[in-house]
C-alpha cells in the first residue's frame, strides 16, 4: 500500500503506459523499436497484476508469482526476438518492418 494513493491512480498510470506501448507498436518502423514497445505493454500488465494483488488480495501471492512468470516469458521472448532480428539482418540486411511483408496473401 502506498499511503495516500488509491488503486485508481496506479491503474491509470499503467493504462497510459499500456497505450503508449500500443502506439509505439503500431507507429514505429523498426523491429527493435517494436520490441521495445512490446516490453512497455508487458510491463504495464505486470504492474497491474502486482498492484491488484497488493490492494485487493494482500494475503495471497498469485499476482506476484504470475509477474515472475511474465518476466520469465518476456525474457525468453526477447531472446528469441533478438535472435530472429539478427538472423533477418543477415538475410536481408534490414530490420525495417516494411521489408518483412513477404507473407502477405
Amino acid at each position: 500500500m502506498i499511503a495516500g494513493i488509491s488503486i485508481y491512480e496506479i491503474l491509470t498510470v499503467t493504462s497510459i503506459l499500456f497505450f503508449i506501448g500500443i502506439y509505439g507498436f503500431i507507429t514505429r518502423k523498426n523491429l527493435i523499436s517494436v520490441l521495445i514497445s512490446i516490453e512497455l505493454i508487458l510491463n504495464a500488465s505486470v504492474v497491474n497484476f502486482v498492484v491488484i494483488n497488493k490492494y485487493l488480495y494482500p494475503d495471497m501471492l498469485q499476482g506476484v508469482i504470475f509477474s515472475i512468470f511474465i518476466i520469465a516469458v518476456a525474457a525468453a521472448e526477447t531472446a528469441l526476438a533478438v535472435s530472429i532480428i539478427i538472423n533477418l539482418y543477415r538475410q536481408i540486411s534490414s530490420v525495417e518492418v516494411k521489408d518483412t511483408e513477404i507473407m502477405k496473401y
Partner: protein
C-alpha cells in the same frame, strides 16, 4: 440327410476361377483347360451323389420329399428379417444341379477343342468357372437375397463371356446390351424383394413358400391398386425372371448375346442362365399359386405363351443359325413359363410344374447339343450364315447325327426326350386353359418347321463347293455331342412325375394318347413342310416368303422390337427428357456453382489488398476491434 458337403459344389468352381483368373498369364492354356474340367468333374460327381442320396436314399420321409437347409446368418436386420447364406436342397435345386453340372462339364470339355489356340484360353476357362460357381450358388440359394446376389453374378459372368471377343465392336455392344437390359429387369426384381421383405418380414424360401404359413394365408392383408402387395412383389420379381429368361418384351438381348463364343451360348444362353427365370418362378411356386388365387401365375402363363409364339415366328425367318437357336431358346423358355402358369398344386394337378421342370431338363440337354453342334459346324465352315452351308452331312457325320437327334427331340418326335416333356406341358395346358393349349400346339409345329429348316439347310440343301473341305471336329468336341445326344434321346424316360412335383408327393404320369398324337402330328407336319421346302435347293421358300410379303419382312426384322426400344429411348427419353435435364444441369446447376466459385475468386482478388502483410496494420485492426467490442459491451452493460 447330411448336406454340409454340398457347399463344396459351388466352392470348387470358385477356387478354379480364382486360380485361373489370378494366374491367367502364368498357367499354360492346355493345363488350364484340364484344371477347369477337373474342378468341374468333382463338382459334377458331388452333384450326382447328392441327387442319388436325395432321390433314392434319404430324401423321402413318409413319401414326401423333404427340404434340407444348411445355412448361417450373414446380415441381421430384425428378429425375423435376416439375410442368410447357405445351401438349400430340394427336388428342383437338385434337378438344376444336375443340369448345370452336365451341361457345364460338357461345355468345358467341348471348349478345350473349340477354343484351341485362342489368345484368352485361360481367361475363357476362368470365366466359365465363375459362371458355374454363380449358377450353382443361384440354384442352391436359401433365400431371395442370396438368389439375387448370385443372380447378378451370373449376369456379370454372362456379360464377361458375351464380350469375350472384346476387340469386336458388335460383341462389346451385345455384352452391354445384355447387361443393361437384364440389369433393368433386375431393378424390378430388387424392388420386388424389398417389398416382399417389408411386408412379410422374411426372405427365407421355406417361410415364404409354406402353404400353411402366415405369408400365404395373409396375402390379402395389404393391398395396393386393387391387388395384394404380395402379388405386386411377385410380379416385380417375375420381371427380373423375365429379363433373365428373355421373355417378351425384355428378350432383345438374347439374339445379340450370340456374339459370344458358341460354347458360351450353349451353356449360358441355352441351358442354364436363361432358365433361371423359370427356376425363380418354380422356386416361389407356392406363392405364385396361392397368393391372389394365382393372378401372378396367370401373368406368367400369358407372357410365356406369347413369348413362345412370338419367338417361334421370328425364328423361321432368321438366317444366322445361332440366332435361330436363340429365338428357339426363347420360345422353349416361354413353353416352360406357360407350363408353370397353367399348373395346379396338389397331386396330379401339379403336372404343369412337373412338366416345366421336365422340359427345362430335356431342353437343357438338346438345346446345349444344338448349340454345340452349331458350334462344330461354325468351327468347320467359319460362318454363322445358312447361305454359306449346305451338304455338310458328308463331311461331318457325327455332328449330323447328333444334330438330327437334337432336332427330333426339340420337335417332339417320340421317343426322344422333348416329346415326353412337351407332351406333359400340352396336357397341363389342355386341362387348364384351351387358348394356351392351342398356342402351344401351334408353336410345336413352328418349332419343328424352323428346326428342320436349319437342319436341312446345314446338312442337306444345296451341294456347296467349299474352298477348304470342312472336316469333322476333334474328339474333344464330338465327345460331348455324343454324350448329350444320348441324354437327349433317353432323357424322356426319367420318371420326373415321381420326383418333382409341387406338393413333393409324386404321382404316376400317363401318356395322354390323343393329345400326344396331335402334338406329334403337328410336329411331323412341320418336319415334312421343312423337308419339302429345304431338302433340295429350290425357290419354293422364296416364293412363300414373297407371298407373306410384309409380314415376312416384319418377322425377319424381329417385329421391330429393337427399333421400338431405340425409338423410345433415343427419340423420346433421350431427346425430350434426358437432354433438357442435362441442359438444365449444365446451364443452371453447374452454372450456379461455377458462378459462386468465379464470384468468390473475383471478390477475393478485389479485397486481397487488405492483407498487407505488415504486422502493424493487423495490430491496428486488432486494437480497433478490441476497443469497439469493449465499447459495445460497456454500452450494453450500462444500459
Amino acid at each position: 440327410m447330411n448336406i454340409s458337403y454340398t457347399i463344396l459344389i459351388p466352392l470348387i468352381p470358385l477356387a478354379v476361377f480364382l486360380l485361373l483368373g489370378l494366374n491367367s498369364k502364368r498357367i499354360k492354356p492346355a493345363i488350364s483347360g484340364y484344371i477347369g474340367v477337373l474342378g468341374l468333374s468333382v463338382s459334377a460327381v458331388l452333384s450326382f451323389y447328392t441327387a442319388y442320396q436325395y432321390f433314392f436314399v434319404s430324401g423321402k420321409v413318409d413319401g414326401v420329399y423333404q427340404t434340407f437347409v444348411n445355412k448361417s446368418v450373414w446380415m441381421n436386420f430384425t428378429e425375423t428379417l435376416h439375410i442368410d447364406m447357405g445351401v438349400l436342397i430340394d427336388p428342383i435345386s437338385i434337378m438344376m444341379l444336375i443340369v448345370v453340372s452336365i451341361v457345364s462339364l460338357m461345355v468345358h470339355i467341348y471348349s478345350r477343342g473349340y477354343m484351341k489356340g485362342d489368345d484368352g484360353y485361360t481367361r475363357f476357362f476362368s470365366y466359365l468357372s465363375l459362371f458355374t460357381f454363380s449358377m450353382y450358388g443361384l440354384v442352391l440359394a436359401t433365400n431371395l437375397f442370396q438368389i439375387y446376389i448370385f443372380w447378378e453374378l451370373v449376369g456379370v459372368s454372362s456379360f464377361l463371356l458375351i464380350g469375350y471377343y472384346y476387340t469386336k465392336p458388335s460383341a462389346v455392344s451385345a455384352a452391354k446390351k445384355a447387361f443393361i437390359v437384364t440389369r433393368f429387369a433386375d431393378l424390378g426384381f430388387l424392388i420386388g424383394i424389398l417389398i416382399m421383405g417389408y411386408f412379410t418380414g422374411t426372405y427365407d424360401f421355406e417361410t415364404l413358400n409354406n402353404p400353411e404359413g402366415a405369408v400365404i394365408l395373409n396375402w390379402a392383408s395389404t393391398s395396393f391398386m386393387g391387388l395384394s402387395v404380395i402379388t405386386w412383389a411377385l410380379l416385380l420379381i417375375f420381371i427380373g425372371g423375365a429379363g433373365k429368361s428373355a421373355m417378351f418384351p425384355l428378350h432383345i438381348w438374347l439374339p445379340d448375346a450370340m456374339e459370344g463364343p458358341t460354347p458360351v451360348s450353349a451353356l449360358i444362353h441355352a441351358a442354364t442362365m436363361v432358365v433361371a427365370g423359370v427356376y425363380l418362378v418354380a422356386r416361389l411356386f407356392p406363392m405364385f399359386y396361392f397368393v391372389e388365387h394365382g393372378f401372378a401365375l396367370n401373368v406368367v402363363a400369358y407372357v410365356g405363351a406369347f413369348s413362345s409364339l412370338f419367338a417361334a415366328i421370328i425364328a423361321i425367318t432368321q438366317t444366322d443359325i445361332k440366332r435361330v437357336l436363340a429365338f428357339s431358346t426363347m420360345s422353349q423358355i416361354g413353353y416352360m413359363m406357360l407350363a408353370l402358369g397353367v399348373s395346379g398344386y396338389d397331386g396330379h394337378e401339379g403336372v404343369g410344374y412337373m412338366a416345366s421342370m421336365f422340359h427345362l431338363f430335356t431342353h437343357a440337354m438338346f438345346k446345349a447339343l444344338l448349340f454345340l453342334g452349331a458350334g462344330s459346324v461354325i468351327h468347320a465352315v467359319h460362318s454363322n450364315y445358312l447361305k454359306d452351308m449346305g451338304g455338310l452331312r458328308k463331311y461331318m457325320p457325327i455332328t449330323n447325327i447328333t444334330f438330327l437327334i437334337a432336332a427330333l427331340a426339340i420337335s417332339g418326335v417320340p421317343p426322344f426326350a422333348g416329346f415326353w416333356s412337351k407332351d406333359e406341358i400340352l396336357v397341363a395346358a389342355f386341362e387348364h386353359n384351351k387358348l394356351i393349349y392351342y398356342v402351344g400346339v401351334f408353336v410345336a409345329g413352328l418349332t419343328a418347321f424352323y428346326m428342320f429348316r436349319v437342319y436341312f439347310g446345314i446338312f442337306w440343301g444345296k451341294e456347296k463347293q467349299y474352298e477348304h473341305a470342312p472336316h469333322e471336329s476333334p474328339l474333344s468336341m464330338t465327345g460331348p455331342l455324343i454324350v448329350l445326344a444320348i441324354l437327349s434321346a433317353v432323357g424322356g424316360f426319367i420318371p420326373f412325375s415321381e420326383l418333382i412335383t409341387p406338393d413333393r408327393i409324386g404321382f404316376e404320369a400317363h401318356l395322354n394318347y390323343p393329345l400326344a398324337a396331335i402334338a406329334t402330328g403337328v410336329g411331323l407336319i412341320g418336319i415334312v413342310l421343312a423337308w419339302v421346302f429345304y431338302k433340295k435347293e429350290n425357290s419354293l421358300s422364296d416364293k412363300y416368303a414373297l407371298a407373306f410379303g410384309p409380314f415376312y419382312r416384319w418377322a425377319s426384322d424381329k417385329f421391330y422390337i429393337d427399333e421400338i426400344y431405340l425409338f423410345i429411348t433415343k427419340k423420346i427419353i433421350f431427346k425430350h427428357i434426358s437432354a433438357p435435364i442435362a441442359k438444365f444441369d449444365k446451364k443452371y446447376v453447374d452454372g450456379t456453382m461455377e458462378g459462386i466459385g468465379n464470384k468468390t475468386v473475383l471478390i477475393s482478388k478485389a479485397i486481397k489488398g487488405i492483407q498487407s502483410g505488415k504486422v502493424q496494420d493487423y495490430a491496428f485492426s486488432f486494437v480497433m476491434g478490441a476497443v469497439i467490442i469493449a465499447l459495445v459491451f460497456i454500452y450494453l452493460w450500462t444500459n
